[in-house]
């Protein structure tokens, strides 16, 4: 189990009902974090255009997460 701080943005924050939580999770990749928090909050947002960052760095979904990491979950962006 790893202690992971998860931050939710925009619609993810509204679905989760909170902006941030620290969870003890059995995960090895950023994708695992996405899937476990999605089922935890009963969200069904497809991963499609979602993005992820670990410790303020944009990464691939297959990137490893380590104990103490902060994972940022970004729903599809819409700048401009």
């Amino acid at each position: 189990m790893k202690n992971i701080t998860v931050r939710y943005f925009a619609m993810f924050r509204e679905h989760a009902g909170l902006g941030e939580e620290t969870l003890s999770l059995n995960v090895s990749t950023a994708l695992d974090v996405f899937e476990q928090t999605r089922s935890r909050h009963g969200s069904s947002e497809p991963i499609g255009h979602c993005k992820v960052a670990v410790n303020d760095e944009m990464v691939d979904w297959s990137s490893a997460v380590n104990d103490g990491d902060t994972v940022l979950l970004f729903p599809p962006v819409a700048g401009g």
Binding site: F9, A10, M11, E14, G48, H49, K51, A53, D56, M58, L72, F74, P75, P76, V77, A78, G79, G80
Partner: protein, 149 residues
């Protein structure tokens, strides 16, 4: 220079800041809040921005543009917070010796800004409803033709 601002974008000052005696042309794109989207009347917009990564990624976009279409100067400012119809949500300005690079770099920057930065748009509709703009449609359209708004 890339920045996020929670206040009205000072378009006149940004333009002056690009002054360069070797510049032959300036190309500017401004994104404005319009009164409808997909047929629904919009009253106002809210931008949520994750600033640390938006600034990091926005700065990277300007550097990429300069590699691809050598220019003299460029600036981009994106709003955060609540915006009204007609407000400027994003300003991009590029000066170059010739117009070809100015146009192409400006277009590249706005396209990438819209697709890559951690910025989310919530539309508040005239009927009282509100919704995050998923922009799945934009993303698809962008992939094909570079359109959006």
């Amino acid at each position: 220079m890339f920045a996020i601002s929670d206040e009205e974008i000072p378009v006149g000052d940004l333009r002056k800041g690009l002054t360069d005696s070797g510049a032959g042309g300036l190309c500017v794109f401004e994104g404005w809040v319009r009164n409808e989207n997909d047929g629904r009347a919009v009253n106002r917009l809210e931008y949520e921005v994750y600033e640390p990564l938006a600034i990091q990624e926005g700065t990277k976009v300007l550097e990429e543009a300069k590699q691809k279409f050598p220019f003299l100067r460029a600036s981009c400012v994106h709003r955060s917070g609540l915006l009204e119809i007609g407000d400027c949500a994003v300003w991009v300005g590029v000066v170059a010796p010739h117009r070809e690079e100015a146009f192409k770099a400006c277009r590249y920057i706005i396209d990438q800004i819209k697709n890559r930065l951690p910025i989310w748009k919530k539309e508040h509709y005239a009927d009282g409803d509100s919704d995050w703009v998923n922009c799945e449609r934009c993303a698809n359209v962008n992939a094909q033709s570079g359109a959006g708004n």
